[in-house]
Structure formats: C-alpha cells, structure tokens
Assembly symmetry: C2
Homo-oligomer: 350 residues x 2
C-alpha cells in the first residue's frame, strides 16, 4: 500500500474498500498466526494450580512487606489497576532508584515463552524471585522474605494449605510458585479473542483492516501467538537501529544473558495484549505515543515508512487487544508480629 | 489492681473472677462511652454520597497518577490490604523522603472529629487535599492533578456522573469530595460492635475484662466514642512525658496549628479501631509492640504502671476492635493520553 497524500478519513474508506476485496479470509489467516486466550486458568510447569495457592499468591502479590523497605509490593510496578504495569519510563524502586528497563505487564504474562525483556527467567516462578532481590527494586533477600512470612501465623496456615505435602511449606520457592499461580489467573479476554472465536461483530471494520495490515506488513512475524508477541527474540533494529534515546547503547539486551554476539540488542518481542494501557513503550520506556511506537517499529524492524493511515489502522487493531480485567478483591493481609523483620529503607551500596 | 508477681494465666483467672462480680453491667457502662458502627455508609457534611461518587472516589484512591512521580496513590500509605495504613514508622514519599508523622488508618476515619494527628483538616475532603500537595508525599499541585484527570476521557465521564449539576465537574474540590465519599464506605464492623449491639458471645471473657480495665483505668476518658478515640485533643504525657524517642521534641503537635501554648505536644487521641493491624504506634511511629504502647499510655497519660496482666487484658479488648474489611475490587483505571502530564520523580527543593 502506498502512502497516500489525502486525509486520514478518506484513507480509511479507501483502505477499507481495498481490503474487503483483497483479504477475503482474514480470520483463517489470523488463526494460523494467533491464538485466542483460553477460558480457564492455564496449567503451568511443575506447579499445580489450586484455589489455595492462588489465594496465597494474591496475598503475596499485594504485600509490600516482601520488600526491604516495606514500600513496594509486586502490585506497585505491576499495578492491576493500570494495565498490570506502572506507566513509568522505568520503575522507581528502593531508595528512589530507577530500574534499567520498562516494567512489562503482569497480565497474560503466563503465556510468554519466558519472562523479562531478555527472557532470562524461564517462567513466572523464576521471574517472581528477581525483583524481590534486585537492589533497585525491592532490595530484599530470600532469607528476609521467608523470615517475614514465617513471622505471621496466617501466612503459615496459607502456605500449609497451598503446599499441603511440604513439611516446611514457607520457602522462597513456594513464595514464587504461589505468585505464579495467582498471575496465571490474570487473563484478559479481548474483542480480538471473541473475533478469533467466530464473533464477526467483535471487531470493527477498521480493526480488521488494522489486523490485515499487521499481518501483511510483517508485524506478526515477531508479534505472534497467543500474546501477540512474547514468543521469541529479535534484534531491535533489524533493518535500521533507532536512535540512542529509544535504544540506549549500554543495554545490549539478551547479549548479557547469552554472551553471544548475535544476541546484541536482541529483546523478546513485546507481547501486545493491553498495549493501549501500558505506555510508555519499548524496553527503554522512551516512547509514550502508541502511534509513534508503531511507526518506529515500521522503520526499525520492517524498513517501511508506514503512512499515518496505516499506523492509525494498526493502532485500531491493537486497541482490540485491550481485554477485560478479572475481578480482584484487595486481600486482607495478616498483621506483623514481634518477630517480623522491621522495614528497612536504607540504601546499601554494593 | 496491684501488680501481681504471678503467671499471666493465673492472673487472667483471678481477674476474670474478680470482674464477673465487680462489673455486673459493663455493657450499659460501655454504651455511655462508646457507640457501635452504623450498618450503612454515614452521611458527611456538604457532600451527598452517591454510588457514582463512591466509584469515582475509589478510582482516585487507587490512582498513582495523582502523585507527581506516578508512584504513589492514596492506597500506598493507606493500604486497604494492611489495615488502611502502611506499617511504616513514618511514610516514605516522593524522592524517598520520610514523612513527619505515622500515617493513620483510612478505615473508619470518617468518624473522627477531624483529620490528621493534629486535627488540622476538619473532614476527609479537606484531608484528601493534603498529601497530594505535600512535598514529602505526592509532591503534586492541584492544577497538575486536574490536568491529569481531565486528560483521560473516562475520568471526565465519571466526574460528570458523580457531580451531575456541575458545569465543570473535574475540579480539585470534587476530587477531594469523591475520595471522601469512598472513604466513608471504609467501615469495619468488629466483635466489639456486635457485643455493644447485644450479642453477649461476641466478646470473650478476657476481652470484656480488658474493656472493664480500659474504662476503669481511664483510657476511655480520651479514647471514646464511635472510633474509640479520634474525638478530642490531649497532651501526650499528661502525667509524665515519654522519652524523646517516642515524643520527639521538634514536633509540638497541635501547637503548630493553633499557636497556643496549651496545645504544645497536644495530639488527637488515636482512634483505636483496627489498632492491632496498624503498628507501629504513636504519631512518631516509634513503638511496634501494642503491649508496650499500652504500657507507655499507662505511665504517660494515667500515671499508672499497668501490670503485665492488665496490659494483656487491655490488648485483648483492643483486638476485639479489629473489624471486617469491606470488599474492595481493584478498580480498572483509564489509560493516559497524549495530554496526560508525564510522571516527574524529580525532587524540587523549596
């Protein structure tokens, strides 16, 4: 499709007409590339999900006492009220330090092939152990987390109920497993799912045109699968590296995990469900406007300057990935006891 | 009652027997001093409460974008998962600055005669404007809050629904009124209420003994009314000033509001509902152990060294003030737009 020097609305009409002829069976094409969300909580490896484990995981997800300072919970940076992330360039953590990368959403994260922008955690239970120990995030230690949780009798009971076969259930491993179980419930069915499942009316004509463009232009080569991304690793700047503001030179992405030259500036393709809720964008969090993010992807990854009309349609499709949040009641957490380690907001330089 | 050099359990039996004879009509005495919580949301002055206003207020209460940094919401320091406060000595706010006083619980706060430790806000709508603008808390301005809220069309609709008669409903005043409406729903009926309402079994014998002591010793002279406190102002250290660790010399309490010598080190008597959930204690937040706090109150306010058994019984009564949290679903907040002011975590020295 050529860039047209016309108004956007005229372009929309033109594109709509064009694609109605050109893309007769867009759903079967889409089903080869994407997959609708399941209607129930998915299974995860080596961690049977039970209601007791979900309830415990929810309590832990909302408990700021798992951070050294007592200020941050998982929900601080993966805020379920704001799309499962924190809407910051990069998160602010312990001691007002800024994290190195934009916080990804916890919503539907269970469907990613691996966790973190560089995929260094193979699943959510591995991921859950990271921020707790990161000096710029929660700055805590596994020992202190376990001491904190063991100090509150209710947690002892909840861990026992969640891990009934364990002699000593309150462990850092089980802490992480419970959080994974809760996060596996954070699934947000979207209009796109309804449409993939056969409801023709679930997407507007513009959204369908956007989807067609998303596939035709090549976006879906990387942003694929159930999470419309999150399935593989790709260099940021396949065709043309974006400027250092968007792609800071000192963060070489997956290279720091694999030490392989080919992995320099390689990142996990961002999962795009709820992307309209999770500005700012990219691992650097430098781009606030979704249209601008799409345009940058066009030049950097596809070598194409997308027209304003094309960007608008693709964003319309991306909006159809905004899903319905599960209802989450604020948990009632147990009170501290004399044995609970006291919050410590001091910044320890390593 | 003299301090007995005996085991606590023996003391409990002794006290129990004593009081069963000595305090035949403890409930009528209690009803002269305390009042049970109402079963419905109370009315507040100059702010009719409607479901639309409550829903808006809940969204605002959970929205970190009302802080300059985008990090803190009302719920950060008045965390509904942990007794309506943050379990910190004093809160950590913008730029990792520490606030001057311990964060009081938002639960049942609608029943306090005035808000803040020094009562400087006459009600919750006045209170809600404080932390947003405090440099060490949210460090925001009314103008920036309004600009933030106006930038998100959903908020525009929600304010319109909550304030249907206002031509320009998105204002800082209405922001505060909506938060007050939501907070008025944060009522936690406790066993003590059931007992006041006639359910004899709602309190254990120990709890009733503790209540009798609470009244006999004079605690209820200040900690009175529906919130078992929060009704009046009293010097901290009526009889004997506690040490500077607990009562820091540089915080003269209500004196800073009234500039009256008599108000030096005067504070609002702490409301004691859910006190078992809201350690650490006092405006300084220096005492973590509720028993220790009760003992300090004995010497400082009553000039009495309470025995360990008496303290234990009083704490048993205080535990009966722990109430049932209302169910609060995490709200789904609207996404930012191009017009939303960006988060600004910079620390501006004034």
């Amino acid at each position: 499709m050529k860039k047209l020097s016309t108004t956007v609305s005229a372009l929309l009409v033109a594109t709509s007409t064009l694609a109605a002829d050109a893309v007769p069976d867009i759903r079967s094409r889409a089903l080869e590339v994407f997959k609708p969300l399941p209607s129930t909580t998915p299974a995860v490896a080596h961690n049977p999900i039970t209601p007791a484990k979900i309830a415990l995981g929810k309590a832990l997800f909302f408990d700021p006492r798992v951070s050294a300072s007592g200020v941050f919970s998982c929900n601080s940076c993966h805020n379920l009220a704001t799309g499962g992330d924190d809407n910051l360039e990069t998160s602010i953590g312990h001691g007002w330090q800024k994290g190195p990368r934009n916080a990804p959403t916890a919503l539907n994260a269970v469907f990613n092939v691996a966790q973190f922008w560089d995929g260094r955690a193979e699943d959510l239970k591995a991921q859950a152990k990271g921020p707790v120990q990161a000096g710029v995030e929660m700055a805590n230690t596994p020992e202190n987390v376990v001491a904190t949780l063991k100090s509150m009798p209710d947690y002892g009971e909840w861990f026992k109920a969640a891990f009934p076969d364990d002699a000593d259930p309150v462990t850092f491993d089980n802490f992480a497993k419970a959080i994974e179980a809760f996060e596996a419930t954070l699934i947000t069915p979207a209009p796109f799912d309804a449409w993939l499942n056969g409801d023709e009316e679930a997407l507007t004509p513009d959204e369908k045109q956007g989807l067609a463009l998303f596939m035709d232009k090549g976006c879906s080569s990387c942003h694929t699968g159930i999470n419309v991304g999150g399935q593989g690793y790709f260099p940021f700047g396949v065709v043309e590296k974006p400027g250092a503001d968007v792609l800071p030179q000192n963060d070489r992405g997956r290279f720091s995990i694999t030490n392989t030259a080919d992995d320099s500036y390689v990142f996990r393709a961002a999962p795009l469900r709820n992307v309209a809720l999770t500005a700012p964008y990219f691992h650097s969090g430098k781009v606030w406007d979704l249209k601008q993010a799409v345009a940058i992807m066009g030049t950097a990854q596809l070598g194409q300057e997308l027209s304003e009309g094309e960007v608008t349609l693709i964003v319309a499709f991306l909006d159809s990935l905004t899903g319905r949040m599960p209802e989450v009641n604020v948990p009632v957490l147990p009170p501290e006891t004399d044995a609970t380690p006291r919050p410590n907001g001091k910044i320890v330089k390593k």
